[in-house]
């Protein structure tokens, strides 16, 4: 484009600005991904950008209860490890909430009446007293630990196991695959008719498709819900079925499918079609043997659009499929988790990543077709 301009400061400014924008655009997703791999306790107390550095935080925990004390010569001793197997290094400790960082690790703290507490950097502690320890609960120990960066797949294990996300994943696939494939064939035939066959009313039909392209989904929800309930009552079945949502997605996806495919098919060279007609091929043959193979790129573009749209959809699924466990799709599940465990970022980030991983793979793998489809769909 403007290659004539020399390497001016403007060029560097362009690089810097684009870099800045790219960082802003990727950081949110990166933060989500890094967070989903962090330990959920660390996640709650430090920002994800500190994930690679050692974090310092203050904790409190109880020592072993007095029932576990042993007598060593003239002292009663309680021993244990305050970190309970977690990794980390104790830097400071204390025995009262007023001075939680009063002592350095390794020092001996005088509590009272000859009682002492010593906490080593590795978390081992010794409580020692000339008289017997009393009470039911263990003594509270305050400590400041430096915890090294720690990545784990635990969040994913929790999420895929107990919270029903595994089932939702299968539900989402169940919704998405047929809802992507079924509209293609219907739309392809209609697109061919609108592109290459002459019949009265064609212009009106094309205009209607263009018009229906922007009809808000919200208009359809209530009348369709009513119809679905009515049909459900008529046949004595539930109104919330997979068949119902496949057909709904087919209906909602058709205008875009027909529009995209028609734009593509109308651009195919007319010589091919005319010469096939001259050779006596019927429209059905032309469609099957010439149009369908040639329109593969457009079919792929639409399939990707429809896949992303259905997989990412929340509204249609909530209205026509409901939220029972064997019908809940990933987006619905994620939204419910957002409501119920607002602050549990370990679960939330891992769940979110699972819901976006498939669309992201499709995106990176098939970006070429996606871009082509976008261009065919809007630029003329």
């Amino acid at each position: 484009m403007i290659r004539s301009s020399k390497r001016s400061p403007l060029v560097y400014l362009t690089h810097a600005t684009v870099l800045f924008l790219v960082i802003i655009w990727t950081i949110p997703t990166a933060g989500l991904f890094i967070s989903s791999l962090r330990d959920k306790d660390q996640l709650a107390v430090s920002g994800w950008w500190t994930a690679l550095s050692t974090s310092t935080h203050m904790e409190v925990d109880r020592a072993e209860p007095p029932s576990n004390q042993v007598q060593e010569s003239d002292h009663f001793v309680i021993k244990g490890n305050i970190l309970h197997g977690k990794s980390g290094k104790i830097s400071k400790f204390g025995y009262s909430s007023l001075h939680p960082q009063a002592y350095k690790a390794g020092e001996v703290a005088q509590i009272r009446n000859g009682q002492t507490l010593q906490v080593m950097p590795n978390g081992d502690y010794v409580l020692s007293s000339p008289t017997q320890w009393r009470g039911r609960n263990g003594k509270r120990i305050f400590y400041t630990a430096e915890i090294p960066p720690h990545f784990t797949l635990n969040n994913y294990k929790v999420v895929l196991g107990a919270d029903g996300l595994g089932q939702s994943f299968i539900n989402s696939l169940t919704v998405t695959i047929p809802a992507t494939v079924i509209p293609i064939l219907i739309a392809a035939f209609a697109a061919y008719a609108l592109a290459w066959m002459r019949f009265p009313g064609r212009a009106i039909l094309v205009a209607s498709v263009v018009g229906l392209l922007v009809v808000p989904l919200q208009m359809s929800l209530i009348p369709l819900l009513k119809s679905y309930n009515w049909i459900g009552d008529l046949f004595g079945v539930s109104s919330k079925t997979y068949v119902g949502i496949w057909l709904a997605h087919t209906g909602f996806g058709l205008p875009l499918a027909i529009y995209l495919l028609r734009n593509y098919i109308v651009g195919l060279p007319s010589e091919i079609i005319e010469s096939a007609r001259v050779d006596g091929a019927s429209d059905f043959d032309i469609f099957r043997k010439i149009i369908l193979p040639l329109s593969f790129p457009a079919l792929a573009s639409f399939a990707i659009f429809q896949f992303l749209w259905v997989w990412n959809d929340l509204l249609v699924a909530m209205v026509f499929l409901g939220t029972s466990p064997d019908h809940m799709v990933l987006t619905g599940q994620l939204r419910q988790l957002m409501g119920s465990l607002g602050g549990n970022w370990g679960i939330l980030t891992a769940s979110a990543f699972i819901t976006i991983i498939i669309p992201l793979c499709v995106f990176f793998g098939l970006q070429r077709f996606l871009v082509r489809g976008l261009l065919a769909g809007s630029v003329k």
């Binding site: 684009v18 924008l21 920002g47 047929p178 019949f199 209530i222 939204r335 970022w345 499709v362 970006q367």
Partner: protein, 336 residues
């Protein structure tokens, strides 16, 4: 797994039924009105009949789907808006009078208008700027891919991503939300962005801008590449600088595309639902039409009349764009 298998079976059945319908109906048509090995007059007559019927065989299923899922609902919504909550008793204009005296609706409408102004404008502008800059640098395609990526993320997923960024801990605690961490780093007070009246709307809009900028960028970038080099070369010879070339030569040539991008995002914005539902569910003055409509659809067993009337408002707002689109499409048809 069983469920997935049955879904695949259904899919195969669905596709086969479609294929069978198209194949069978065309086969039947050719059998009923043969166009081969017959007298010339019969062939001519049959040919006329088949060419008249066949388009409708091709279009049949699509027309049925479009009618049942999109056209009939529009009509039915208009009718329902004059009926009560169960859609049975006629209530005249009372849904409409309820609507315009309803504070929540006025709030949704106001918010929707703000979304309508801010999101399409910002996304289109950012998309245009990024498109023109990435076209000039060697790693532009990588940059484009990364900026385009949020397109693939669901609105709910994006809401989780951004809720994490907006996360708020009371002052003195470590902020784990990026935005508050930055604010605190520069010595500010942490804020609860999501419940901050008025401005919280903009924090929700950012999410949609983040998603849609990539779309604008991809389309505008293609349009910029389609600009004939001669116009730019001529401007360079005449001594125009980069910024003049951009605003006076390039932008005017892609006005049509900018309008398409702008209207596409506008339609999306009018329907925005998932983001508001997931982030606030309309609390703290962030309600929008689509979410209010959804609430009324199910509130207390569902109020179909009021739901329909809110849906109609969205429809009315979309209509000008619809008419503009149809006109444009018609002009193209005539051009062929």
């Amino acid at each position: 797994m069983e469920q997935l298998a049955s879904a695949l079976v259904y899919m195969v059945i669905g596709v086969s039924v479609c294929a069978f319908y198209f194949y069978g109906s065309n086969f039947l048509l050719d059998k009923l009105f043969p166009t081969k090995n017959r007298a010339v007059t019969i062939v001519a007559r049959n040919l006329r009949i088949t060419t008249r019927i066949r388009p409708w065989l091709f279009l049949g299923p699509a027309i049925i789907f479009l009618t049942f899922y999109l056209f009939y609902p529009v009509v039915d919504s208009i009718i329902l808006s004059f009926y009560g909550r169960a859609g049975k008793e006629f209530v005249g204009l009372s849904n409409y009078s309820w609507l315009f005296s309803n504070d929540e609706f006025l709030e949704s409408f106001r918010n929707n208008m703000m979304w309508l102004v801010v999101v399409p404008t910002s996304a289109t502008f950012l998309g245009l700027v990024i498109a023109s800059m990435t076209d000039r640098i060697w790693w532009g395609n990588i940059a484009k891919t990364l900026i385009f990526m949020p397109m693939a993320i669901s609105f709910v997923g994006a809401s989780v991503i951004w809720k994490f960024i907006y996360d708020y801990q009371s002052a003195g605690n470590t902020q784990i939300g990026l935005l508050n961490a930055i604010v605190v780093f520069f010595g500010g007070e942490p804020q609860n962005w999501i419940s901050m009246p008025f401005w919280n709307n903009f924090f929700l809009m950012v999410i949609l801008i983040w998603i849609q900028t990539g779309f604008a960028m991809v389309i505008l970038s293609a349009a910029l590449r389609g600009i004939p080099d001669e116009t730019i070369e001529a401007a360079v010879l005449d001594g125009a600088n980069g910024i003049q070339i951009f605003f006076k030569i390039m932008v005017p040539q892609i006005w049509g595309t900018i309008a398409v991008v702008w209207t596409t995002i506008t339609i999306l914005v009018l329907k925005v639902f998932d983001i508001v539902l997931a982030m606030t569910n309309g609390q703290w003055n962030t309600q929008v039409l689509a979410n209010q409509m959804f609430t009324w659809m199910f509130r207390g067993g569902g109020d179909f009349g009021r739901g329909a009337v809110i849906a109609l408002v969205i429809m009315v707002l979309v209509t000008p764009i619809m008419i503009w689109n149809i006109r444009r499409a018609n002009q193209e048809m005539e051009g062929r």
